[in-house]
């Protein structure tokens, strides 16, 4: 049974444009030119309860637009969204009680109110019972290590501190679904790791379904197994992370450090990327060639000191994916 069902979702924006210059500015007073941008173009997918799904795509691909429609704050032009039995836009007020949302770039806390007051306010907004609130708050404060700045106004927090508070705020009412839109943007390494660890834990403990968008591939890699890739508003890939790796990562890089190379040997399915006096960097098509074979061939021509094999990073794979699809 799928928990989140999205069927043939569409959203088009009118983007007004005008050329530069004063004359053009006057022209727009009479007639405005615009173009239609299909931010989301016929997207469908299903998500099961308790899944963590990475929703990725380059800038302007339509990620945030989709998330906003899933959250019920943007009206789809056409298509169907059913989440936990609700139609997000139509049943907004009832529906939003079931979701928690964190937007990395926008704060949802009240900026001139201390963190703890913000939480208390949320308690009343979501009508959380005293008992649940106390229990929840204690657990979240501990996990996210918030004690130190609970009484500081939000405007005085550092980005990492604020983000942890945002995450805490989004979970106080025990939501069934958590939307995380670039939750680690701008965070330092320590905070990133902390946030990731927390997300994993909360998913495991509370069976929260999580939809995550991020440009940070390490986020995706450490958190999700399922990936939905979109570009130009269209769904391009929906499957496992290892699947995408397998599909787009047929090549590996091989570096050989050597002494006394007699001659550079020619090996099939291998391209030379860089050659220096004492080392060479090769790209190997793994579908028709093996590392051991190359090493064997090279050992006849030189004395091998060391070899390094580089797998493609997920960043490179995604880059290639986008490039391959002309994004």
């Amino acid at each position: 049974m799928s928990f989140i069902t999205v069927k043939n979702l569409n959203k088009t924006f009118k983007v007004y444009e005008r050329n530069s210059g004063l004359k053009e500015a006057f022209k727009t007073l009479i007639k405005r030119k615009y173009k239609l941008v299909h931010a989301v173009d016929d997207i469908s997918f299903d998500i099961k309860k308790g899944e963590i799904v990475g929703y990725i795509g380059p800038n302007g691909a339509g990620k945030s637009t989709t998330i906003k429609m899933l959250c019920g704050i943007l009206k789809p032009d056409s298509g169907e969204i059913t989440i936990a039995g609700f139609n997000p836009f139509k049943d907004r007020v009832k529906y939003v009680k079931n979701i928690g949302v964190v937007f990395g770039q926008k704060s949802q806390l009240w900026w001139d109110i201390p963190v703890m007051d913000s939480f208390d306010l949320l308690k009343d907004i979501y009508k959380i019972s005293d008992e649940d609130y106390k229990k929840n708050l204690k657990e979240l404060i501990e996990l996210l290590q918030l004690e130190k700045f609970l009484h500081t106004p939000v405007r005085q927090l550092s980005l990492g501190e604020r983000m942890r508070c945002e995450i805490c705020a989004s979970l106080l009412h025990n939501p069934k679904i958590l939307f995380l839109d670039e939750p680690t943007i701008g965070l330092d390494a320590v905070s990133k790791v902390r946030v990731r660890k927390f997300i994993k834990e909360i998913n495991k403990k509370r069976k929260v379904t999580i939809i995550l968008t991020s440009h940070d591939m390490q986020d995706i890699e450490s958190l999700t197994n399922r990936l939905i890739v979109i570009g130009h508003g269209k769904k391009l890939y929906d499957g496992t992370l290892s699947g995408i790796k397998h599909k787009f990562s047929r090549t590996k890089k091989l570096e050989i450090l050597y002494n006394n190379l007699i001659k550079t040997p020619e090996v099939e399915n291998v391209t030379i990327l860089k050659k220096e006096k004492d080392k060479i960097l090769l790209e190997v098509d793994m579908s028709n060639q093996t590392i051991s074979n190359i090493v064997k061939v090279y050992s006849d021509y030189c004395e091998i000191k060391d070899i390094n094999v580089y797998n493609k990073t997920i960043d490179e794979i995604i880059y290639e994916l986008y490039k391959g699809l002309n994004l």
């Binding site: 943007l74 949802q108 109110i113 208390d120 907004i125 979501y126």
Partner: protein, 266 residues
Amino acid sequence: MRGYISYFKAELKAGLQYKTAALSGLTTQFFWGIIFALVYTSFYKHTTIQDINLKELMDYVWLNQAFFALIYIGINDETIINSIKDGTVAYELLRPYDLYTWWYVKLVAKRYALVLLRCVPIVIFACFLPVPYNLSLPFSIFTFLMFLLTMFLGTILVTTINMIVTSLAFFTNENRGISSIIYTIADLLEGSQIPLPLLSGVILIIASFTPFRFIEDLPFRLYSGHIDITTGFKDISIELIWIIGFFIIGKLILKKALSKVSIQGG
């Protein structure tokens, strides 16, 4: 309901943080009060004005300064306007509350926070000024109670107007134009600049038909006894109709606006 009350309290508390701003506001109010008191007093020395006597006028002047923040129509909330302009308003919709009520509460809380920091020093100061420049005691206990009630309703009314003007920002993206036109006219018809009894001709006729006069003219003149209780009750019933009307219009505009809101970027 509990959520809205907590929000009111939180906003009130947040508003009370800004003490320097309050101090500068206070200074301005003292300044204007003294100027008006001096100008009107010298005015009355050389003319005879039937419509309102000097004592009643002084009450009007000082109450206007003391409760300025409750009744001045041009008090906007920049954070709301900006959230409409940059699209962050969408994120308000992630919460399970009615946005109209939510913003309404915020605007009212802001007014009360501003007035709480200012009204007491001004009232005390004005009471102890020498006659005829001073603020007198209320005409009677009944008119005083009526004054409190109409002050409360005045804030309710002016905020429903603010909500309409604020919601219009959705359609224009920049509502300073609309708001400054509406607010300037309203400010005049409210009696903020010149007390309504001193107006004459067409402007007075217009003022007596528009709802703006209920915002401050009604409570201040009830206080000094210039309007009697019977007229007061009649005015209150008309005011209530305006409040309901503006409330419905504001809600409809906001609903319409939210259904077509589009959020760019992000």
